[in-house]
Symmetry: C2
Subunit: 144 residues, 2 copies
């Protein structure tokens, strides 16, 4: 068991650093990596709220609130007050928001391209298979 923990930690170190190194290429944007993640999550979550994002990412709610305010100022999202509960505001991307996300997504693509630049077709397939396996295992066992 001990050995296994060490292996996983090694992977965590390895992959964290990988991601760090391969995300510096196209990083000239008005949005940070965190903001990009949040934008992505908004776009893929229906009836998304600030408190949902707070919990999902485990960030401070004040921090999230400010990011949302920034998005709103930039017309990247719009808020739609809930009718049932007047405390909550649903958040959704605007047209411009979708454009911004697409742009960010394109940059992320470039980073990934960079990461697998020298990996041959076959190995990329294996790589993805391994990634999916990890997701599957960890997802199935951390639900509920």
């Amino acid at each position: 068991m001990e050995r296994k923990i060490q292996d996983i930690k090694q992977f965590n170190r390895f992959y964290l650093r990988m991601m760090g190194l391969f995300s510096m290429y196209t990083d000239v944007s008005s949005y940070s990596a965190t903001e990009a993640m949040i934008l992505y999550e908004i776009s893929h979550t229906k009836n998304c709220t600030a408190s949902y994002l707070t919990n999902y990412f485990n960030f401070d709610k004040g921090y999230i609130s400010r990011i949302i305010r920034k998005f709103s100022r930039n017309n990247v999202i719009k808020r739609r007050p809930s009718e049932e509960d007047r405390r909550v505001q649903y958040i959704e991307l605007t047209e411009k928001g979708r454009d911004v996300l697409e742009e960010l997504s394109f940059k992320a693509d470039e980073n990934v391209q960079h990461m697998i630049k020298h990996v041959d077709e076959n190995d990329v397939t294996k790589l993805i298979k391994a990634m999916k396996q990890i997701e599957l295992i960890l997802n199935n066992n951390n639900k509920g």
Copy 2:
């Protein structure tokens, strides 16, 4: 190809969030995650220098310098001036440094334990296999 990029990005999002969520449990230490990484790297690199760390992690050299200074103040590392090049100082852990690292390591263990708490033996084996495959593929192709 497009599909593959998307799969990898999905994994990146997934794993980044995983690591974020499962690192909040035992996070009461006088050293940050970044500092822990650096400490680890020092301990596993012979003739480690500030500039090596700067390049390895792609951090600002001023930032690294300050972290090293903090380590030094806390007697976690000691500096040994190079004889050949009087600009460079080799960095190595002290006894206390090894203790600190061990402590940090223990906390990281707990986080990993938490992450795989509900994963059965068999799946953990598969998980690690997949992780090693990823490391292997990405490592072999990004050398040089």
